[in-house]
Amino acid sequence: MQLQRKDILGLQDMTPEEIGLILETAKSSKDILARPVKKVPILRGKSVCTLFYENSTRTRTSFELAAKIMSADTTSISVAGSSINKGESYKDTLLTLEAMGVDLFVIRHGAGGAAHFAANTVKSHVINAGDGMHEHPTQGLLDMLTILENKGGFDGLKVLLVGDIMHSRVARSNLWGLSKMGAEVRFCGPSTLLPSEIDKLSVKVYTDIDEAIDGVDVVNVLRIQLERMNKGFFPSVSEYANLFGINKNRLRGAKSDVLVMHPGPMNRGIEITPDVADGEFAVITDQVTNGVAVRMALLYLLLGGGGNVAAA
C-alpha cells in the first residue's frame, strides 16, 4: 500500500488506513534509528527544505535528522536571516525555493492554512509542521505511535489532552487521529481556552481536571503559553497550576498504567510537576524519538515510493 497523496496537511482528512500505514512504516523506521550506523541511502538525491516561519527546535531538528538519516539533502530556512524580512511574499518564497529543486517542503507557519496555501502553490510535496492553531499532524502521529507502542492499539482507549485547547494545533491533530482510530478523546482546560463549539466534535469536554482524568489511559499535557495570561485567558500561573497542573496526586485518578505525555517544551512546575515529568509513567523522551521515526516514515512514503523502509 502506498500513500495516495502529495501532501500531509493534517489528520482531519486522513483515513484510518493511511494513519495505520504511516504508523507501521514508522515502526520500521525506528529499527534504523536503533542501528549503530544510522544511515540508509533511500532518499539519496532528494532535497528537503524546512521552511520555518515560527521558532522551533525539536520539530525542525527532528525533521532534519529524519531526512539526513535517509540521505536526503536538507536546507533550512527560518524567517530571521532570510529575504522574507525584505518583504518577499510567502508565495514568492515558495516558488523561488521550488525553482531551486526542492522536492519536499516542511513548513511551520503561524497562520492557519499556510500549509494548504503551500500545497496549492507548489508541485513539490508539503508536510505541515504546524500551521497556526490548525494542525500539527506529525506531532499527532508521533503521539499516536507512542500510545500504540505502549498500549498495543487504540480501540476504547481513553486519552485526555489538558491545557490550552483553543490555541493548540496538537490537540486538534490528536483529536482527529485518535478518534478515527477508535479512541475516546477528552479535552480539559479553562473554559476561556476551549474553542467555540468544540463539543460538537467527537470529544468529551471538561473544565474539572479530576473529573476529566478519571479512568484515562493517557494524559497528554499541553504546554501553557505564558503570554496568554496577559490576554486575559487566565488570571495567574499559580492559579492555572492549582486548577489544571498534572501532579502525582491528580494522576491517581487515572488508570494505574497511565501514560503521561507532553509535546514539549515543558513548563515544569506549571502544567506538569517535575516528579511526574520524570516519573515512571512519563514517555516524553520516547515521544521525541518517535518523532524522528514518524517523520522518516512520511518522508519515505511521500518521496521514496511505497514498500517498506526496513526492506530497503
Partner: protein
C-alpha cells in the same frame, strides 16, 4: 432624442407598479409609460427596442461601494468601479470614505465628485465620520455635506468611542444626512478572520464572534434614539443583529438597515479550503444567520440590499489567510445572487427585491432616483430574470477579481443599463 422600450414588464416600486407596458425616454428623462406607438414619434431622432420577456426597473442604487480612489487606484478607480456598476445594472453608487487621503474634508469630496462626473454612472460619495478615520475627532461634516456628500460613514473604521459616535450623530442630524455605520467592536475582533464557531475551530483561525457586530448594532441604535439622527446599519449578517434592528424599528427610532448578497448566499462553510476570496468583514456566518437575514428581508426589517463591493489586488489576497485583505467584489454578481437566492427561491417577490435596490436606497440618501415616474432622470435597468450565467471574474469590468463565486452558475443578469437616457451597458444586447 428619444428611446422607446417596447413590450417589457415594468416594475417600479416607487409607484407600486408591475405592469406590461412600453417605456419612453425623452431627452434623458422618463417621459411616459403605457402603450406607445413609435410611429407617433419623430423617428429620425430616436430608436425603439423590443424587449419582450425582459424586466424594466428604475436604475439600481448601491449604497455601499469601495471605489478606492484616491489612493488605491491599483485596486479600483472611480472609472472602473462605475463601469462595473453599469455592467451589474447599477446606475447610482455611493462610495465609502476609506480612501487615501480619507474623504474627510470638502476638497476630497469635490475631487471624488469631479471624477464621478466623467464616469459611466452617477457617483455619490459619503464623508468620513472622523478625521483621517482615526475615531478621535469629528470630521468637517458640514463642509462635506455642502460639497455634496450625501451620507456620513465610519465604514472600515468603526468609531469605538460611544461618546464620539453620539456627537457625530447629533451633529450630522443638523444637516439631515444619515449616519451610515459599520458595526464592529474592535476589542473583540483583534486578529480575527472568520466567524466564531465550529468551522473556525476546525480551521484553527482566530474567531470573530457575532457579538462583536451585535453589540455595536445595539449601541448605535441606542445612540440614534438619543440623538434623533437617521441611522443606517451597514452589512447586517447575524440573526441577533436582525433582532436588534427589529427592536429599534418597533421603538420608532429612525433606522434603516442593509445586507449584502453574500450574507444570504454563502456561509462560513465557504472558507473550509481557506479561500481568501471568501474572507470578508463582517465574516460569513452560519445557515441559521442566512435564514434570519432572508426572513428579515422578507418582513422588511432589512430595507436595502447593498454590495459592499470591495476590490483588492491579487497580491493582497494570494497570501496566508490571516494576512489576506477583507472583502469581495460585488457589483457584477449582486443581481444574479439576488435573483437566484431570493427571487427564484421564493423568499421575496421580484417587486420587493427591486424596491430594496431602488426606492429604499434613494429614500435613505434623499436623492431623486430609484423611480420611473414621469420627469425623473432616465436611469433604467433592463433585467433578464431567466438568463443563466457563469461567474467569470476575468470578464469583470472591475479591477478586482476577488470573488468566492468563480465558476458558480447563477440565474439573472442586467441586460442593459441606462443612465440619464444613455445606454452605458448592453448597447449591443439591445440591438
Amino acid at each position: 432624442m428619444w428611446l422607446l422600450l417596447k413590450n417589457g414588464r415594468i416594475i417600479d416600486p416607487s409607484q407600486g407598479m408591475d405592469t406590461a407596458a412600453d417605456l419612453l425616454i425623452e431627452d434623458g428623462l422618463i417621459s411616459k409609460i403605457g402603450s406607445i406607438d413609435a410611429s407617433t414619434l419623430n423617428s429620425s431622432d430616436g430608436v425603439a427596442y423590443d424587449i419582450s420577456g425582459l424586466v424594466v426597473t428604475p436604475g439600481l442604487i448601491d449604497v455601499h461601494v469601495h471605489l478606492r480612489e484616491p489612493g488605491f487606484e491599483y485596486k479600483e478607480t472611480i472609472e472602473t468601479g462605475a463601469l462595473a456598476a453599469a455592467a451589474g445594472g447599477f446606475t447610482t453608487i455611493l462610495g465609502m470614505p476609506n480612501t487615501k487621503p480619507v474623504i474627510d474634508n470638502r476638497a476630497v469630496v469635490e475631487y471624488v465628485m469631479n471624477q464621478g462626473r466623467n464616469s459611466a454612472v452617477n457617483v455619490l460619495t459619503s464623508g468620513a465620520a472622523t478625521k483621517d478615520n482615526e475615531g478621535k475627532e469629528m470630521a468637517e461634516i458640514g463642509e462635506m455635506v455642502k460639497a455634496g456628500a450625501v451620507a456620513i460613514s465610519d465604514d472600515a473604521f468603526p468609531v469605538q468611542s460611544a461618546d464620539l459616535m453620539r456627537r457625530v450623530m447629533e451633529y450630522a442630524k443638523m444637516f439631515d444626512v444619515p449616519v451610515v455605520t459599520h458595526c464592529e467592536d474592535k476589542s473583540m475582533t483583534e486578529g480575527a478572520s472568520m466567524n466564531e464557531g465550529l468551522t473556525c475551530t476546525m480551521l484553527g483561525l482566530r474567531p470573530w464572534p457575532r457579538q462583536a457586530e451585535e453589540i455595536m448594532i445595539w449601541r448605535n441604535i441606542l445612540l440614534a434614539e438619543l440623538s434623533g439622527c437617521r441611522l443606517h446599519i451597514q452589512h447586517v449578517t447575524t440573526a441577533g443583529g436582525v433582532e436588534a434592528i427589529r427592536w429599534g424599528k418597533s421603538r420608532g427610532i429612525k433606522l434603516t438597515a442593509e445586507t449584502c448578497p453574500h450574507y444570504f448566499s454563502l456561509t462560513d462553510q465557504a472558507l473550509t479550503n481557506y479561500d481568501q476570496n471568501a474572507k470578508v468583514n463582517p465574516p460569513l456566518r452560519t445557515q441559521a444567520d442566512v435564514d434570519a437575514i432572508k426572513a428579515a428581508l422578507a418582513d422588511g426589517t432589512i430595507d436595502i440590499i447593498a454590495t459592499d463591493h470591495a476590490p483588492h489586488a491579487l497580491q493582497e489576497k494570494e497570501v496566508e489567510f490571516q494576512n489576506a485583505a477583507f472583502g469581495m467584489v460585488g457589483l457584477e454578481t449582486a443581481l444574479p445572487l439576488v435573483i437566484t437566492n431570493l427571487v427564484k427561491t421564493g423568499v421575496l417577490p421580484l417587486v420587493d427585491v427591486i424596491a430594496k435596490l431602488t426606492a429604499a436606497p434613494a429614500q435613505l440618501l434623499g436623492i431623486k432616483a430609484g423611480t420611473l415616474s414621469e420627469g425623473a432622470p432616465a436611469d433604467v435597468t433592463i433585467i433578464d430574470i431567466d438568463a443563466k450565467i457563469t461567474v467569470r471574474s476575468a470578464e469583470f469590468k472591475s479591477k478586482g477579481r476577488n470573488t468566492p463565486l468563480e465558476g458558480t452558475e447563477l440565474t439573472g443578469k442586467a441586460v442593459a443599463t441606462i443612465v440619464g437616457g444613455k445606454v452605458v451597458h448592453g448597447a449591443d444586447m439591445l440591438r
